[in-house]
């Protein structure tokens, strides 16, 4: 173990990796701070560049860029009342109300400090939980994996949206896309329509660049809202008073970070949902709930730590099972496969140095967030004035070239455009995109484990539930599917029983 740790240390503290981290931090801070550019988009745009890097610098770039972007999304929320990333949307009104009261420094500082604290908390859970889980997962057979993937997809549908039916639709579309090509247990070309480009399947990376970057460019092009006005001319010292806040709200910080890590670890739900849930929880348990919405820092402290802890939490199922915890880790998994670092429990036993390196990267990213974040707040005014009508065309071109760079294929550029337009249309109509991404990433795994299990058990469906862990996972999956129906049934029968 110590040899692996030393190896991880030398990989992470390599000058090249450190340089990549600093550049990725600045990039992440910028992308997060510009409204309309999300943290997921930051990762999607990084993929073509990381494609040409060694595995550890590539992961370093993605980890730091996302951590920074989730924090800096708070900045325009506070100064313009527009969340920089969806993860800041939950407390944008609160932060802006604080700015109106002349407390922009406190709001931004709380966002920064407790983002770092939440991020470190999530990292601690990642470090403690994932090796133990991996150890456990080593005994999993195709039956357990089948149920695990199914449970993951189920969570994605029911947690990531309030419209399960539309979630099921996008999940099925994602699974269908995953069917294209030769990559199935029978090795039979499906839905290729005689096109040689499609025998290898629809490229995951072009699709994700389309869904997360092109769709944002389209959304910007059709955005008719007038540009927002900066509410503050000068932001003072942001660290002042943060220690007092930490002493005043220790329970909130702990609760926000725990909930965030948990929500992050659940497949399909990421930082944005973590922030919404923990803001609501903060208000519910607060001693002064009437102050929420009027510029009260408590909710920002709690949900600000939640959204960053969710980032690390999402890596737990991603590294241990290859099941992404959010859209960001869905992209990360794609990159890990490209780098031959296939996620799964064996990654922990055969290449522990890589795992230790990932842990270290998370710790460093969350620590350097404080000084770099202060720097970013200082120049925030300039970032917010970057002309987006110049930036968006550049992003479009970067998407095209980046997509082309992966396989030198113009077909992929077409896939990117189609995915972008479809994602835009679906989101406009209330179809969540997270289940689609999970469907694409996990479709192959679901089918493979299903077919393997069927062959092993000679077609006997009962053997899917004879092993104890498989049976438990099956029960949980079925419960998640049935719960909404049961609730509706109970409600129509009259008042719900006490305690439910």
């Amino acid at each position: 173990m110590s040899a692996a740790l030393a190896q991880a240390f030398s990989m992470v503290f390599d000058p090249y990796t450190l340089m990549v981290m600093v550049i990725a931090s600045l990039y992440g801070l910028f992308v997060g701070a510009v409204p309309g550019l999300s943290a997921t988009m930051a990762v999607a745009l990084l993929v073509p560049v990381t494609f040409f890097m060694a595995p550890i610098p590539a992961i370093a770039a993605m980890v730091t860029a996302t951590a920074m972007a989730i924090f800096s999304g708070d900045i325009p929320g506070c100064l313009l009342r527009i969340p920089g990333t969806p993860a800041s949307a939950a407390y944008t009104d609160e932060a802006f109300a604080m700015t109106r009261k002349g407390e922009a420094e406190v709001a931004l500082g709380a966002g920064l400090v407790f983002s770092a604290v939440g991020g470190l908390f999530g990292t601690a859970v990642l470090i403690l939980a994932s090796p133990a889980l991996a150890d456990f997962a080593l005994h999993f057979s195709s039956f357990e994996y089948f149920w695990l993937v199914l449970l993951g997809l189920t969570c994605a549908v029911f947690i990531s949206s309030d419209r399960p039916l539309k979630g099921v639709v996008t999940l099925m579309l994602g699974l269908l896309v995953a069917c294209v090509g030769l990559g199935n247990p029978a090795g039979f070309p499906r839905f290729t329509f005689g096109n040689t480009e499609m025998t290898g399947g629809i490229g995951m990376i072009p699709m994700m660049i389309g869904m997360f970057a092109i769709s944002e460019v389209v959304r910007y092009a059709v955005d008719t809202l007038p540009p927002a006005e900066l509410a503050v001319e000068k932001v003072g010292s942001v660290l002042k008073g943060q220690w007092a806040l930490a002493k005043k709200y220790p329970v909130q910080i702990l609760r926000g970070s725990s909930l965030g890590t948990l929500v992050g670890a659940l497949p399909g739900a990421g930082a944005d949902i973590a922030a919404w849930m923990s803001y609501a929880m903060s208000k519910k348990f607060s001693k002064e709930p009437e102050k929420f919405g009027t510029g009260h820092v408590e909710g920002i402290v709690e949900s600000g730590s939640a959204n960053n802890s969710a980032l690390a939490g999402a890596w737990i199922p991603a590294l241990v099972f290859g099941i992404p915890g959010d859209s960001i880790t869905a992209i990360v998994i794609g990159v890990l496969y490209m780098k031959n670092l296939n996620p799964g429990p064996t990654l922990f036993t055969t290449n522990p140095q890589n795992i230790y390196a990932v842990f270290m990267l998370f710790v460093i990213a969350n620590i350097i967030m404080i000084p770099l974040g202060i720097l970013c707040i200082k120049v925030a005014k300039r970032i917010l004035r970057v002309p987006r009508n110049v930036l968006m065309p550049l992003i479009l071109l970067f998407c095209i070239v980046g997509t082309f760079a992966i396989n030198n294929s113009l077909f992929d550029v077409g896939v990117m455009l189609a995915a972008g337009v479809v994602a835009y249309l679906l989101e406009e109509n209330g179809f969540p995109t997270a289940p689609a991404i999970l469907g694409v990433v996990l479709g192959g795994m679901l089918e493979e484990n299903f077919i393997t299990s069927m062959i092993k058990s000679d077609g006997n469906l009962m053997s899917f539930v004879t092993r104890p862990i498989a049976a438990s996972l099956a029960v949980v999956s079925v419960l998640v599917w049935v719960a909404p129906l049961l609730r509706r049934l109970l409600r129509s029968r009259g008042p719900a029983p006490v305690g439910s």
């Binding site: 639709v169 269908l176 029978a186 092009a221 059709v222 968006m392 109509n429 299903f450 077609g459």
Partner: protein, 157 residues
């Protein structure tokens, strides 16, 4: 652009039926109950069920939910232009980049889109040229991506 759920339902139903029709022709694996048709077949059935529910729901709500509800941008010529330029820009790149080469194609796409987003024409062209050269340098020279030269091949550097 918002569409009534019934339209999505109908599209999904058609997609599901088409998939079911296609997988009928897939081969069986001798000695096994499960073949390549099973998985897409199950997905198609689920799509049909969801599509049918959406169709019924949308039809039921048709009085209150219009079939197609365009966003405010449809009525704003400048936003409509911007939307079309984004789509047309990518399509143009796919069709023209091999022949015209990366530098010309990307300059055209960038300049057109910036102009459509109301950057002044002079500035649009200037930024487009500089950005194309910069991206070309980064991807062609540093990352060695074979971006096409097209008509500029004799002058390739």
């Amino acid at each position: 652009m918002k569409l009534n759920d019934a339209i999505f339902g109908l599209l999904l139903l058609v997609l599901g039926i088409a998939v079911l029709a296609i997988v009928q022709g897939y081969p069986k694996i001798p000695g096994q109950q499960v073949g390549p048709a099973l998985f897409p077949g199950l997905i198609a059935v689920a799509l049909c069920v969801c599509g049918a529910i959406l169709l019924v729901r949308g039809w039921r709500d048709r009085a209150s939910v219009p079939w197609i509800q365009a966003g405010p941008w449809i009525r704003s010529p400048s936003h409509l232009l911007a939307f079309c330029t984004v789509i047309a820009g990518v399509v143009f790149y796919i069709l023209a980049s091999e022949k015209l080469g990366f530098l010309i194609t990307s300059t055209v796409v960038l300049a057109a889109l910036m102009w459509a987003l109301r950057v002044s024409p002079g500035r649009s062209v200037l930024i487009a040229v500089v950005a194309s050269l910069a991206i070309h340098f980064a991807f062609y020279k540093l990352l060695r991506v074979p971006l096409p030269w097209g008509v500029l091949t004799p002058y390739a550097w």
